[in-house]
Amino acid sequence: MTDANASAYREEARELLAELEVSLLELEDRPADSDLIGRVFRALHTIKGSGAMFGFEAIAAFAHEIETVFDQVRSGAIAATPALVEATLAARDHIQALLPIPADRAAALAPEGERVLERLRQALPSVEASGPSPQPESSEPTPDLAGESRSFRIHFSPNPDILLLGVNPLLVLRELGSLGDLSVVAHLDKIPMLDAFDPEQCYTYWDAVLTTSAGENAIHDGFIFVEDCARITVSPIAEAENGAPRLGDLLVSRGDAASEDVERCLESRPLLGELLVEAGVVSQDKVDAALVEQQHMAALREKRGEAGPEKKPVEAASIRVPAAKLDSLVNIVGELVTVQARLSSYALSSGDAEVAFISEEVERLTEMLRENSMSIRMLPVGETFARFRRMVRDLSSSLGKRAELITSGNDTELDKTVIEQLSDPLVHIIRNAVDHGIETPEDRLAKGKPAAGRIHLSAAHAGAFVLIRVSDDGTGLNREAIRARALERGLIRPDAVLTDDQVDQLILAPGFSTAARVTEVSGRGVGMDVVQRNLDALRGSLTIASAPGHGTTVTLKIPLTLAIIDGLLVEIGDARFVVPLSHVSGCLELSREEDSGRQSLLSVRGELLPYIVLRERFHIRGERPPIEQVIIADTLGGQFGFVVDRVIGDHHTVIKKLGRLYRDIDEVSGATILGDGAVALILDVEKLVAAACSAPA
């Protein structure tokens, strides 16, 4: 087994385990749903079959035990009771624990595996606890990784003397039939007249179509005893060969012709096979063999169609690519964007029309490549969301509460790096919701709420951001307790006048917790500040809204991507900066006469706009020009202006991490390399505004 195979198996198994978990959780609510039971069985079956194929023997053997149980559930012999689902979830966790362990060290987890299996046996309803079920026979056809069956075209032409060797070709056909669905046609054209007939000669040869989940090797194994005395070919049939609809079917489905009319016309004309035979193109037996294959494949498609959409063959419309390759692609595209910026800059200064034309073409293609490569990195958040269902279930159960997680916007896409970094913050927020938000069933009923609490996890696009909301219908934030705790920790002065919203935001302070007790779940004073730090790393932001008695909503605002952003390039003295375009709502000029000095307020369409003079903020030497530019930015605290010397224009910004020396500068979130090789710092608009607001007047 190669590392690549092991890695592919682990990746596929993780996806199957995630599916298994979701199916099991749904099975708790709908224990008689045969479709769900089938999904659980198929996931276990594939984990087992692929595990055996790729050398994960411990996983294959363990999964076989669970699969055997669910085979009984599938047949209706036993019911999917809550205890059985619970035990199966534990078994799923055990497979997950086995997954990263090398095969030769998996034995260390065998005692734990046996404990899990014992628990499973005890959970079996109406069936006596039994010992381990028989292992699958070694001759069992190994399913392929996807568990899908494939069709093969087989030609079997024995030598004429095969019967004299004591070989019965019909037994070979029987062996093939045991592998799957076999359609076979015997070619009899070599059988002579009676006077020349030799009973000991084999005159017959065969064409067959076999649909099987066993691999091609299993088919060759069937011929192992005749391969020296027969001509044998086995070739896979591409199902697309039969995929195109017939003209008559199309005309009927488009309403252009009645099916009876099409049938009548078809009956009155010679069949293609007859025409070909008549023209001497092919012999009748070749046509007949092709017809048998056509019928076999048609029957196969019909059968799959009846089995529901899940049974349809997986289209090769997607491929699995290592994440490192995607990262590498984006890095290269990032370099290309930088070089393209240099080219544009040169083309502009050279005044050469031809160079300018080429530069524009390169810019257009680079833009397309950038968008394409960024879209490849986008993944739906649904898979991450699905993991939290189990967490909410287990947490609420351990706390003596009842809570369910509802998700929406599962198809919303985010950069894969963002999704990976989003998981931890969401764990904290959802844990807090279950532990501090949702009340016990008794308390909820006393308040007139349903016994089971609800946590709604949603995702939605908002411009260059994704908004992720976690809402619970629990007790809401206890503002009195938050205020008291903040006073105790010296976060606020005793006479501080705070709005409800400002009180709510206090829970983001490092080490803040109002929990009276430290539970396994939360209350240790770490949590929301960790969430805040994670979001800072994502260049995201967080807001909290709470209605006492009705619940709390935490909103995370996350940028779609961390790799390349659209920015507005500005200049102050010799220094250049990038303002993320997602924040920019407009630009205007600021003359000396309009400058309000220390008040830093500007009247824009009748509204007062506070502004920050970035030259002063960053202590950049030199005189301010007589006419400056103000970038109007949308921030969480409303609109703010940023005064710069000059706006250069929009800029595809490849984000580079800052070095260690700059890491503590809050107002700057990263850097980018410009076309001329200079470095521009990327401004963190929210942090700039927050710093300006908290600075002493």
Partner: protein
């Protein structure tokens, strides 16, 4: 009677001749049956002979036997005669199908019209 040995019984009724095959029609016995069929289909000299192969007593058949029946049929029709199978046992159809011999359209290049000994 040895159960591995085929017994042949010939019945004549005007232009119809029935050759009853009792026992196995397999490699060791195919030649015996071939001689009986050859006698009926080729040597009788009767241009309009209708031959029936009675299979009610057939106990098993193999590839050699299937090929013989096919050969007999095409020999008969090539001489303007007919040959049909009569009273095959219940398992016969399924066996022929598994061997690829039972189809509505014959692979036989000598067939006449849609006539085929393997037609259901």
């Amino acid at each position: 009677m040895d159960s591995n040995e085929t017994q042949i019984r010939v019945e004549e009724d005007g232009p119809r001749r029935t050759i009853h095959v009792n026992g196995p029609l397999d490699l060791p016995n195919t030649e015996t049956v071939r001689q009986a069929l050859l006698e009926s289909v080729v040597r009788s000299g009767d241009a309009s002979l209708d031959t029936l192969v009675g299979l009610a007593g057939l106990t098993r058949i193999d590839l050699s036997g299937l090929q013989l029946l096919c050969s007999s049929h095409r020999t008969a029709i090539s001489r303007g005669n007919s040959l049909r199978l009569a009273d095959p046992p219940a398992w016969f159809q399924e066996f022929c199908s598994a061997a690829g011999f039972a189809r509505s359209r014959s692979t036989c290049p000598h067939r006449r019209g849609d006539e085929c000994i393997w037609s259901a």
